[in-house]
Symmetry: C2
Subunit: 148 residues, 2 copies
Amino acid sequence: MSASLHAIFKRIRAEGYKLTRPRRVVIEVLAGGETHMGASEIVAAVRQKAPDVGRASVYRALELLTRLGVVQVSAMGRATTVYMLTPACCHHHLVCVECRRTVELNECALRDLEKSLASRFGFQVQGHLVEIYGRCEACQDNPGSAPL
Amino acid sequence: MSASLHAIFKRIRAEGYKLTRPRRVVIEVLAGGETHMGASEIVAAVRQKAPDVGRASVYRALELLTRLGVVQVSAMGRATTVYMLTPACCHHHLVCVECRRTVELNECALRDLEKSLASRFGFQVQGHLVEIYGRCEACQDNPGSAPL
DNA sequence: TACGAAGTGAGATGTTGTCTCAATTATACG
DNA sequence: CGTATAATTGAGACAACATCTCACTTCGTA
Ligand SMILES: [Zn+2]
Ligand SMILES: [Zn+2]
Ligand SMILES: [Zn+2]
Ligand SMILES: [Zn+2]
């Protein structure tokens, strides 16, 4: 799925940042968990593996990793955000706005677009996020019955 | 840009919800403001137009409007979310992970994909969100200098 | 008019995110 | 391998954000 952990670690050092324990554990947790996790879930999982890691450091790590393009933040149609490792082999999300269930898509419609952006805007593309919203089959008849 | 306010109001009633003052004002604020606004900005703007509207109702309206596909929530690479009216004529975001500046794109690479999803997954597509992350020209040389 | 369902405002409460600062540690260099 | 040093950390205070409860209002319908 995502780039190997080793490659990510190397990347952090290459950018001039230290590869510290909090950063390493956050990455491992994201790699081992669900496709996307809330910040509090990440904090809990990190402290299970490394009880001495502070909450602030988890947030700081997530912020850095987002800047590096290693991690992506998404709202998934909600008020609070979730984090995920940026998938190397592109997967987009189909999100049901009623029940919040998601389906992962393995096709990508943006590769060509990305290339053209680099030249048109001088933009150094790190990755992209695509979320398609709607109602899943089950929720089309009984709207407003979101279980989550 | 987005569907006309009148069309949105009609839509709310058509779905069986009441068109109340909080809901109307939230929509007006989103239509009149920046392309995307944080929840607290929305609350402030709403209370300027209608001081008697409670914060909870603003959140409730945003939640409903998101379920209806009228509003989209996005993280824009940050820990806190922003809201925007779902653009009728598709615009995608190019987001700089360093300085948070964004560029709006007016092309859409997903229309065909959307159609095929409907048949393959029985999914009733309401809209989609595309964010492309990277570093803008100015931030490629001096990373970590985010002003915002 | 009486009813019930849907919606609301206020504020308590809970959750999430940020900040400060002394103490610690990863890395480069000798 | 120490040592120097700047980056990074943990703790907990703090601030912002989001949700929940509940009595009250609104509105369509009988
Ligand atoms: Zn659903
Ligand atoms: Zn893609
Ligand atoms: Zn930038
Ligand atoms: Zn599009």
